[in-house]
C-alpha cells in the first residue's frame, strides 16, 4: 500500500529572493496517521505548510494528493481538496457566533434562505463530537482560546477535511485542555483523517505522533517511526549536534532575601506571600489562569493591588508605578512577547536599551556610541543571532527576541530581581537551552529569579524552589528534588 499516501511531496524546492527556503524536501502522510513535523525556527516547516495549503506554489518537485498531482494554487483550492489548517493564531471572526464561524462559507440554504435550525443542529452535533459544551449562538470572541481551537477543528470537520494541519495547537492550552485535544486527535485518526502536527514540545510529539519528519535549514533530514526515537536523538537531529545538558542548573548558595511579597491581593490574586533570595530561581507552577501572570503584574505595579506589600532589599515597592519598580531593580519579561514585550516597529538596539537609557545619558543626549557598544556586547554575550543591531526586532526568531528582552534588564546596573513569565514559550530547542544557561549564570552573579512556567520539565529542572498556584492562591511550596510532575499537578488542579 506504499502508493496509497493521502498526501505526498517529493523533492520539493522553494526559493525566495536570496533564500533557498526548501531544498529537496520529502514528506508523506498516510490515512489515519499523525505525522509530526519538527525543526528549529527557520527550518522550513512553515514554508512546507504554506505549500501544502496553497499559500505558496512549488518551484521544483512534486506534490501529490492520493497519488494524483495536487494542482493546488490557492488556499481556497486546498480547502476544496480537503486540506484544513489550524494556525497558531486563530483565524475565527470574533463577533460572529460559533455556528456562523463554522458554516459561513457553506451555509445550508434553500433558495438563498438560510436554514438556521439545520445550522444549529449540525453545529451541536459536531460540538458534542469534540466535547465542546457551549451554545452555538455564543460569539466566538467570548470563548477562551482552547475552545476557539475546538471551533477551528469543527470548522475543518464540517468542510469534510481529509487532512488537518495543526500548527502549535497546544501553545496556549492548559494541561487539561491538551488532554482533551489528544483525545480528539485520536478520534480523528480513527476516522482515517491524516494529521500533520507541528510543535516545539517534543514530549508531546513523542506521545501523540506515529511518525516524525525532521527538517533543518530547509533540508530534509529524515523521517522516523516515533517508536524508534528518543527525545535526545530528535534534538540532535534538529540542531545537527548533540545537545548536552538541556537544563544546566547548578544550584548556588542562596544569599540574602531580595524580594519579599507579603499578603499580596488583587482582583485575581489572593493573599500571596513568598520570598526570593539572591542567587535563587523560584518557580511558579499552575494551570493557565491560576493568577501567576497577574501576580507578576501586581508585583511590578502594573495591576492594581488591593492589599499586601512588595519589598525589595527592605524597601517597599509602590503599588502603581512600574517605573518605580524598575528603578528599585525589578524587571519583568512578559509572557505575551509579541503584544507586551517587543516594540515591533523599533530595532534591536532601541528595544534593548529602552529600560536602561539613563545609563547612556550624556548631560541631555543619549550617547549613541556607548549605547551601541553595550548592545553589541549583549548581542555577543547572549549569542543573539542578527545581521545588525539596527535590524527590526520583529524580524528575529522568538528565541532571539526573548534574548533581547532579557538583555533589556540584564544591561541595567541596578537589576536585582528578574521575573520571567513563560521563558521559553514558542522558542526552539537550541535557544531554549541557551536561555536556561543564561538564567543559571545570572543567579551565580547574585540575581534573584522568579520563573513562571507551564512547562513541567523546565520548572522541575531549573528551579530551586517551586510554588504552585491555583485560582489565585498559593497551594503548595516544594524544594528542589521534592517536587515531581504528579505532585505539582495534584496541587494545581
Amino acid at each position: 500500500m506504499e502508493g496509497e499516501f493521502l498526501l505526498e511531496v517529493k523533492g520539493v524546492h522553494k526559493h525566495f529572493p536570496g533564500v533557498h527556503a526548501l531544498n529537496g524536501v520529502n514528506f508523506q502522510l498516510r490515512r489515519g496517521e499523525v505525522h509530526a513535523l519538527v525543526g528549529e525556527n527557520g527550518a522550513g516547516k512553515s514554508t512546507l505548510i504554506k505549500i501544502i495549503s496553497g499559500v505558496h506554489n512549488i518551484d521544483n518537485g512534486e506534490y501529490l494528493i492520493e497519488g494524483k498531482p495536487a494542482n493546488i494554487r490557492t488556499p481556497h483550492e486546498a480547502i476544496e481538496k480537503g486540506i484544513s489548517v489550524i494556525y497558531q493564531e486563530l483565524t475565527l471572526i470574533p463577533h460572529m457566533s460559533i455556528a456562523e464561524n463554522i458554516f459561513f462559507s457553506h451555509l445550508p440554504n434553500t433558495r438563498g434562505k438560510v436554514n438556521w435550525k439545520e445550522v444549529y443542529e449540525k453545529t451541536r452535533e459536531l460540538m458534542s463530537y469534540v466535547g465542546l459544551d457551549e451554545n452555538p449562538r455564543t460569539k466566538v470572541g467570548y470563548l477562551p482560546v482552547a475552545k476557539q481551537q475546538l471551533v477551528e477543528i469543527i470548522k475543518a470537520l464540517s468542510a469534510n477535511a481529509k487532512i488537518i494541519i495543526m500548527d502549535e495547537p497546544t501553545s496556549a492550552l492548559s494541561n487539561n485542555e491538551i488532554e482533551n485535544l489528544c483525545r480528539i486527535i485520536k478520534e480523528l485518526k480513527s476516522k482515517g483523517i491524516g494529521i500533520i502536527y507541528i510543535s516545539h514540545k517534543l514530549d508531546e510529539i513523542l506521545e501523540l505522533s506515529d511518525r516524525i519528519t525532521v527538517l533543518r535549514d530547509g533540508q530534509y533530514i529524515d523521517t522516523v517511526e516515533t517508536a524508534d526515537v528518543t527525545q535526545d536523538k530528535l534534538v540532535s537531529m534538529m540542531v545537527g549536534r548533540e545537545l548536552k545538558d538541556m537544563y544546566p542548573r547548578q544550584a548556588c548558595e542562596p544569599g540574602e532575601v531580595v524580594l519579599e511579597v507579603k499578603g499580596l491581593t488583587t482582583e485575581k490574586v489572593y493573599d500571596v506571600s513568598f520570598n526570593v533570595r539572591a542567587g535563587e530561581i523560584v518557580g511558579f507552577s499552575g494551570l493557565m489562569g491560576a493568577g501567576r501572570t497577574e501576580l507578576a503584574r501586581a508585583i511590578i505595579g502594573a495591576d492594581k493591588r488591593i492589599s499586601g506589600q512588595v519589598i525589595v532589599n527592605g524597601k517597599a515597592v509602590p503599588a502603581d508605578a512600574t517605573d518605580k519598580a524598575l528603578e528599585m531593580g525589578i524587571g519583568y519579561v512578559p509572557e505575551d512577547r509579541k503584544n507586551h514585550g517587543i516594540f515591533a516597529q523599533c530595532c534591536i538596539r532601541k528595544n534593548m536599551t529602552i529600560s536602561a537609557l539613563k545609563q547612556f545619558k550624556n548631560t541631555v543626549k543619549i550617547n549613541r556610541s556607548n549605547e551601541t557598544l553595550s548592545v553589541n556586547k549583549m548581542v555577543e554575550d547572549l549569542h543573539i543571532k542578527t545581521p545588525s543591531i539596527e535590524q527590526l526586532i520583529s524580524k528575529l526568531s522568538g528565541g532571539n527576541q526573548q534574548k533581547v528582552i532579557l538583555a533589556r534588564f540584564l544591561m541595567m546596573n541596578g537589576i536585582k530581581v528578574l521575573i520571567i513569565d513563560e521563558p521559553t514559550r514558542g522558542i526552539d530547542v537550541g535557544a531554549k537551552a541557551e536561555i536556561y544557561n543564561i538564567l543559571d549564570q545570572l543567579t551565580h552573579q547574585g540575581l534573584a529569579v522568579v520563573m513562571i512556567s507551564s512547562e513541567m520539565p523546565e520548572i522541575l529542572s531549573m528551579c530551586d524552589r517551586i510554588y504552585v498556584m491555583k485560582k489565585g492562591r498559593v497551594t503548595a511550596e516544594f524544594k528542589r528534588g521534592e517536587a515531581t510532575q504528579e505532585k505539582l499537578l495534584s496541587k494545581a488542579i
Partner: protein, 329 residues
C-alpha cells in the same frame, strides 16, 4: 556580506520614506513655477514659509501626540482662546511679555485638562478633546460675546509681520522649534520613550516606563506649542478673534499624516511632517497665485492627501514584502 547588504537596505528604506515627499514637494514647486512667474520669488517663498510656520509650530505638538498614539483636536478652539487671553492681557498691561505668558498659561491649562482627562480618566483622546474643543470654543465666545478684540499695542504686530535678517520672525521661531524637537525626538530619553509608548504602550509600561506621566507631559507640551502658534496668529490678525482657528485642527492633522506620521502611534518623523505641511502650504499658495477658483482648492487638497497616503501605503507594503522575502529563510 549579507550583513552589509541588509544594513544598507534598511537605510535605503528610511531614506526613501522622505524621498517620496521631497520629490512630491519638488514636483509641485516645479509645476507652479512654470505656471506662475511670481512663484519662485524671494517674496513668495518668504510668504509661504511665514504662512506655514504657524502650522509648523502647532504641527510639532500634533506630531508628539500622534507619535504617542494620542490626538488633540481642540487645537483650533485653542487658537481662539489663546488669542483672546493674550490680547486682553496685552491691552490691559501693554506688555508683550505678559501677553506671551498669558498665552502660554492658557496652553498649559488646556494641555493639563486634556492630559488629565485622558490619563487619569482613561477617556479616548479623540473623544476627550472633542469635548474640550467645544468647551474652549464656548468659553471664548462667552468671554468676548463673539466680538473680536482689537490689539491696542502697535508693536505686537511685529511678532507676526516682523523680520530678522530678512527672515520673518515666525519662520525663525518655527525653525528653532523644529531643530529643538528634532533633537528631542531623536537624541533624548524623552523622545525614545515617546516612540516606545506610541508603538506599544503595554510593553512600555511593563518595561518600566512612566507611561501616564509622559502622556501628561506631552499633552502639556503640545498645549504650549499650540498656544505659541495662537499667539503669533493673534499678532498676524492684529486681534483676539473668537472664531479664529476654525478647522485648523483638521488642516494640521491632515498635513502631519500626509507627512507619514501614523495615527496609531509610534511611527513617523518630524521631518516627514514638516514636508507634509510644506506641501499643503505650497499648494494653497500656488492655487491662489494661479487665480484658481476657490471651489477647486478643497478638491485639489483632498486629492493630494489621498494620493500621498495611497503612495505611502503602497511603499509600506512593498517594503514589508521585501523584508518578508529577505527574512523568510
Amino acid at each position: 556580506m549579507e550583513k552589509t547588504s541588509k544594513g544598507h537596505f534598511f537605510k535605503s528604506i528610511t531614506r526613501f520614506e522622505q524621498a517620496a515627499l521631497v520629490i512630491a514637494l519638488l514636483a509641485i514647486c516645479i509645476v507652479f513655477s512654470i505656471l506662475s512667474s511670481s512663484f519662485m520669488t524671494v517674496l513668495n517663498i518668504t510668504n509661504v514659509l511665514r504662512q506655514v510656520s504657524l502650522m509648523v509650530i502647532a504641527g510639532i505638538g500634533m506630531v508628539l501626540l500622534l507619535l504617542l498614539g494620542e490626538i488633540d483636536i481642540s487645537v483650533g478652539s485653542l487658537q481662539a482662546a489663546v488669542g483672546i487671553a493674550s490680547v486682553t492681557v496685552l491691552n490691559a498691561t501693554g506688555s508683550i511679555i505678559l501677553a506671551l505668558l498669558a498665552a502660554l498659561a492658557t496652553g498649559v491649562v488646556s494641555g493639563l485638562l486634556n492630559g488629565i482627562i485622558v490619563t487619569k480618566g482613561g477617556v479616548n483622546s479623540f473623544i476627550a478633546t472633542l469635548g474640550t474643543m467645544a468647551i474652549i470654543r464656548g468659553i471664548g465666545m462667552v468671554v468676548t460675546k463673539a466680538v473680536s478684540i482689537p490689539v491696542r499695542v502697535p508693536e505686537f504686530a511685529e511678532i507676526g509681520a516682523g523680520q530678522l535678517f530678512g527672515i520673518p520672525v515666525p519662520v525663525i521661531i518655527s525653525a528653532a522649534l523644529v531643530i529643538f524637537f528634532y533633537f528631542v525626538l531623536n537624541h533624548t530619553i524623552f523622545g525614545r520613550q515617546i516612540y516606545a509608548i506610541g508603538g506599544n504602550s503595554e510593553a512600555a509600561k511593563l518595561a518600566g516606563l512612566p507611561v501616564q506621566k509622559i502622556k501628561l507631559q506631552v499633552f502639556v507640551l503640545a498645549g504650549v506649542l499650540f498656544a505659541l502658534s495662537a499667539f503669533i496668529l493673534a499678532s498676524r490678525l492684529d486681534a483676539g478673534q473668537p472664531i479664529a482657528g476654525q478647522g485648523f485642527e483638521m488642516q494640521v492633522i491632515a498635513a502631519v499624516i500626509l507627512g507619514g506620521v501614523s495615527m496609531s502611534g509610534g511611527n513617523g518623523t518630524l521631518s516627514g511632517a514638516l514636508l507634509g505641511m510644506l506641501i499643503l502650504g505650497v499648494i494653497q499658495n500656488g492655487l491662489v497665485l494661479l487665480n484658481v477658483s476657490s471651489f477647486y482648492h478643497d478638491i485639489v487638497r483632498g486629492a493630494v492627501i489621498i494620493l500621498a497616503v495611497y503612495l505611502d501605503e503602497r511603499r509600506k507594503k512593498n517594503a514589508a514584502k521585501q523584508l518578508l522575502r529577505s527574512s523568510n529563510k
